[in-house]
């Protein structure tokens, strides 16, 4: 397949170095030609010095940008080495291409900015700190803004978008029932199983019920549900608002005189604050059922014993300790979800990035606040 490749040979014509080229000079063949051509400059200077050079393109069948680039580079290289070179035998079409490429090669090309990697590391570290502080500050001001609008809506309830609220309640609450139920049930099973395994060593299997009741009602029920909803609804909020931001729908709202916080944020926050406590209650029940299934089948504790033990081990306070966190977590999740949605800027890629950030931040805040609640409850002696 000689026709598919390019070739060249060098001939001496007196003081003139002639580079005869032919075949195909294109993006496929320049790789092979490039290395060999580099050596021409060296050859030209060694031995009997050539004073001029000529690159003959008469036999070239095909020339594309890559080939033109290589020929032009060789020519400029020879000229720079003190051997003035010219191109001969090129058709009109090739001449215009060669001229175009030469023009491109003459432009200065700035290198991509490079710096000291250590300084870069420090810079990145410092920037991350400032970014984090900026996010905290912006989140705080978003919190304030939301509160103000919230109060305004409370003062004038007709401003509340009722349809949007109900729709959000359906999508964040009702539609989450299957997954929340299933996961809580399994958590109940796991806690009961692990507890029984350890407590059996002391002959105290019956206290599995206490462990289950207290840990699920106080901590696990609300925590698992909140984390699940952060991943399910918090991310959805960011994606929805972010997409609207990219489509300039948010800008459109403002120009029409609608308040994006009132329309987009309030219904979502309110909906989640209503549905999350309900979901937590549901999750508590399902986890108890899972634990009970485990207890009755694997531990030989009858249903009535289980219920009796459960009743004696937990109080209304136990239940409320878990329950009271739910609206707080709901507020955090929805606030962060909406906040990151408004942070979307520019492209669709940003939507994905902010969604990830929203979920991470929401789960982080939920756990931090859960720890804070624990400390507070222990001070209060609850």
């Amino acid at each position: 397949m000689t026709a598919e490749t390019g070739w060249f040979k060098t001939i001496r014509d007196g003081d003139c170095l002639v580079v005869e080229t032919g075949g195909r000079w294109n993006v496929r063949t320049v790789e092979a030609l490039e290395g060999k051509l580099r050596r021409i400059g060296v050859e030209a200077r060694s031995g009997k010095m050539a004073t001029t050079a000529r690159i003959d393109l008469t036999a070239v069948d095909a020339l594309d940008t890559a080939g033109a680039w290589l020929i032009t580079r060789t020519r400029l290289g020879l000229t720079a080495a003190g051997i003035p070179a010219e191109v001969a035998g090129a058709g009109a079409a090739y001449v215009s291409l060669l001229e175009r490429v030469e023009k491109a090669l003459q432009h200065e090309r700035p290198e991509p900015p490079k710096g000291n990697p250590f300084i870069k590391l420090l810079e990145g570290l410092g920037k991350a700190q400032f970014d984090m502080l900026a996010i905290a500050r912006n989140l705080l001001s978003f919190f304030g803004l939301t509160l103000i609008v919230f109060v305004r809506v409370l003062m004038n309830p007709s401003r509340l978008r009722f349809t949007a609220l109900v729709y959000r309640m359906q999508s964040t609450g009702l539609n989450a029932l299957p997954i929340v139920g299933l996961l809580s049930f399994l958590i109940g099973v796991v806690v009961a199983f692990q507890g029984a395994d350890q407590l059996r060593q002391f002959g105290a299997e019956i206290f599995t019920v206490n462990l289950l009741g207290v840990s699920i009602l106080r901590e696990l029920g609300v925590l698992i549900t909140a984390i699940l909803i952060a991943g399910r609804s918090g991310s959805a909020f960011t994606a929805q608002i972010g997409t609207m931001k990219v489509n300039q729908e948010v800008d459109a709202m403002e120009t029409i005189g609608l308040d994006p916080i009132e329309i987009l944020v309030i219904p979502r926050v309110l909906a989640l604050m209503i549905t999350l406590p309900l979901l937590v209650f549901y999750a508590d029940i399902m986890a108890m059922l899972g634990g009970m299934l485990m207890a009755t089948t694997a531990l030989d504790i009858s249903v009535s014993t289980f219920l009796k033990q459960l009743q004696s081990s937990i109080t209304f306070t136990t239940f409320m300790v878990g329950m009271v966190k739910a609206p707080v977590f709901a507020f955090l999740i929805s606030l962060v979800g909406c906040f990151e949605g408004f942070n979307v800027a520019g492209s669709a890629e940003s939507v994905g990035r902010q969604t990830t950030t929203a979920v991470v931040e929401a789960i982080f805040l939920v756990i931090v606040f859960d720890a804070a609640f624990s400390i507070m409850f222990s001070f209060l002696g609850i």
Binding site: T65, S96, L97, R100, A104, E108, R109, P113, E349
Partner: protein, 253 residues
């Protein structure tokens, strides 16, 4: 010797669900010409483009590109075809996580075994050829204006020096000066690289300035001719299109 057309479509039928977009459509694109494809909205201009490059499946008919039947082709053959054409999508469709230079390098790296520095050199040449300033090479698409993104997209579509380029509304969304500059760019590149250009457009200025022939999509079929001849036809849509005030202004130039 009559030259083989670079694209030859016979009896093409495309449909989505029950709505037929093209029915029994024939089209020849000659080597080295700039063909402008026009038509009212919803007549399937972009669909036609997507069907030719294989992003849509045709229900019936044959599409030959470079004399090879696209409709019965293995994946490997299709990949080989892809090296021989370039596509510029409406907003450039640059990869947002890569810089302009890296975007242009993608097809070169994928389809050739060139050394890194050669690839970098070639991409810099392309950046210059489409009229982008050299420092644009290290910018990300989100840092560029719409016109620059289109130029960068064009540079990427030309990365492998294709024989055939498909342009989807190349001047849409550009200001008149930018659009005229882009028209010029296409014409210049078309001449120096000997390209065949298949261009979907709404821009009457582009049509008048750079297209050799115009293909009008009407009633699920296509009518191809030069602008002068099309203007003589009595078809109502074409009358409106070519004799409206905007068209007259474009032709006067």
């Amino acid at each position: 010797m009559t030259e083989q057309p670079i694209i030859k479509i016979r009896g093409l039928r495309t449909q989505f669900g029950t709505s037929v977009i093209h029915d029994d459509l024939d089209l020849d694109v000659r080597r080295g010409e700039v063909l402008g494809v026009v038509g009212g909205s919803g007549t399937g201009k972009s669909v036609l483009l997507r069907t030719i490059i294989g992003l849509n499946k045709a229900r019936a008919g044959t599409i030959e590109v470079f004399g090879e039947n696209m409709t019965q082709m293995s994946d490997t053959q299709q990949r080989q075809m892809q090296e021989r054409w370039g596509v510029l999508f409406q907003d450039g469709a640059l990869f947002s996580s890569l810089t302009v230079a890296q975007n242009i390098e993608v097809p070169i790296k994928e389809h050739t075994k060139l050394k890194r520095d050669v690839v970098r050199e070639l991409s810099a040449v392309k950046v210059d050829m489409v009229g982008l300033p050299p420092d644009a090479a290290h910018k990300f698409p989100s840092e560029l204006s719409g016109g620059m993104r289109k130029r960068a997209g064009l540079a990427r579509s030309l990365a492998l020096d294709p024989e055939l380029v498909f342009l989807d509304e190349p001047t849409a969304g550009l200001d008149p000066i930018g659009a005229a500059a882009f028209d010029n760019l296409i014409k210049n590149l078309q001449q120096s690289l000997k390209l065949t250009v298949f261009m979907v457009t709404h821009d009457l200025d582009s049509l008048a300035a750079i297209c050799d022939r115009i293909a009008v999509l009407i009633d699920k079929k296509i009518v191809v001719d030069t602008m002068e001849n099309l203007m003589k036809l009595k078809q109502p849509w074409m009358q409106d299109y070519f004799h409206g005030p905007r068209s007259r202004a474009a032709i006067k130039k």
